[in-house]
Amino acid sequence: MLKGVNLKVRKGEIYGLLGINGAGKTTLIRSILGLLRIDQGRILFKGNICQPKDIQKNFGFLPENFLPPKNLKGIEFLRILGSGFNLKLADIKSLLELVGLTKHSRKYIGAYSRGMIQRLGLATCLLKDPEVIILDEPTLGLDPLGQKQVLNIIADLNRRGKTVFFSSHILSQVEQLKARIAVINSGAIAFESGVDEILKKHKASSLEEAFLKEVEGQK
């Protein structure tokens, strides 16, 4: 259950939602996307109450453990879904290039590695060219190379003007992306600011140390 969550994500920034397992990261993301109903409060997009149409038009989402149909090829999956957004083959090919899957586009998704599936998921997010990209644990279960590739794509998307909101409990990634952060603990936001601020607050030398002090301080 979420309690008194108050967050503001600015246009064009990378925003990291940090929290231990079960802290409420996925619940918050699903609430933002309207997949879960909220009992109280409101979600605003560009100053107005966020409507389902806003989400369908402006938000791209990559859930945790996303797995598209294994018996389709990567390019087929994107082409069919992309046809819903009037995308042409050239658009799909450029998306595949962006996420580094051009070589593997004609392979069945069943033959993809976890990292390739995540990159395909990122391409799926981008089909409608959304303003905001929401990623739930985008590097979960990836090897270091896969993590690096996904983080590079996220940074690249941000350079292209996308607002990125992601959840993670891998703190080094947040530092690497120079994201503004919020720490969520037991369904409530414990801290919201930049990495430097949380380091100063806890007089810590690393984000991990500061994060642990923040989380343990709440208990």
Binding site: R30, L33, L35, L36, R37, P52, I55, Q56, F59, G60, F61, L62, P63, E64, N65, F66, L67, P68, P69, N71, L72, E76, F77, I80, L81, G82, S83, G84, F85, N86, G121, T124, L127, K128
Partner: protein, 253 residues
């Protein structure tokens, strides 16, 4: 419309490539060979037996195909979190309707393939009549209703097993209820008659969508029958679709 077609085609392609679909197709091929064998055993009635067994086989395999394939696909989408991606990109109405239409296309493809194989078998055994193939149209309507029911139960229940069992129960119930109605009409108390009649009206009237017994003898009802069952199936499916959509929108994913 583009979004609806995208979801439909995605589901159709996924289902056609599914091992379950291929398994049912292969099973049907073996079943057709069995029909030839049955025909050889029924001296003097080989043509009728082949038509009857063939139509029954098409019905059975098509029903198994849509019930299992749809239900497993729906719950797989939930488990693999892809439904969340669709719901972020498309409205719930498009997600539900697109999936249903994808399976209607699958059912159409299966019936087309089986009609070609079945028609070929009858032709090679001098047992072909057009009525046997026309009988596939009411069967198509029956399976379309089952697809809508599969979607409703998949949306309603959070477990694939419960959805499957409920669907099988309703299907078997709908097939058996005309017999129950005939029994209570002859021997039942007034309360039983009203109760069974109510269930009969509420459940899909599968008996109305079955002309196998006529088609086997080369007979067909007139066009009003076909018009009537088409309207019935459309209205029934619309009713199921509205309830389905209402539940789908209320549920959290």
């Amino acid at each position: 419309m583009r979004k609806f077609l995208a979801i439909s085609f995605l589901n159709f392609k996924e289902a056609v490539r599914d091992k379950f679909f291929l398994g049912v197709v292969f099973f049907f091929i073996f079943y057709l060979l069995f029909c030839i064998f049955l025909g050889k055993l029924s001296v003097g009635h080989a043509d009728k037996v082949m038509r009857d067994a063939g139509l029954a086989g098409i019905e059975l395999t098509a029903i198994i195909l849509v019930i299992f394939s749809f239900t497993f696909s729906f719950f797989r989408e939930k488990e693999n979190r892809i439904l969340e991606v669709y719901l972020t990109d498309f409205s719930p109405g498009i997600c539900v309707s697109g999936k249903i239409f994808g399976y209607v296309l699958l059912c159409g493809l299966y019936l087309l393939l089986s009609a070609i194989a079945f028609g070929g078998l009858l032709y090679l055994n001098q047992a072909f009549n057009l009525a046997s193939l026309v009988a596939l149209y009411p069967l198509f309507l029956k399976i379309v209703i089952i697809i809508f029911l599969a979607s409703l139960f998949s949306t309603l229940f959070s477990s694939a097993t419960t959805a499957l069992l409920s669907l099988l129960f309703v299907y078997v119930g709908a097939e058996l209820i005309p017999s129950a109605l005939a029994i209570v009409k002859a021997y039942g108390a007034p309360v039983q008659k009203v109760f069974i009649k109510f269930i009969y009206l509420f459940f899909p009237n599968m008996d109305k969508l079955d002309i196998k017994s006529l088609a086997v003898y080369g007979k067909l009802p007139d066009y009003r029958f076909f018009l009537g069952i088409t309207i019935y199936a459309l209205v029934y499916c619309l009713f199921l679709w509205l309830i389905n959509l209402l539940i789908f929108q209320k549920k959290e994913y």
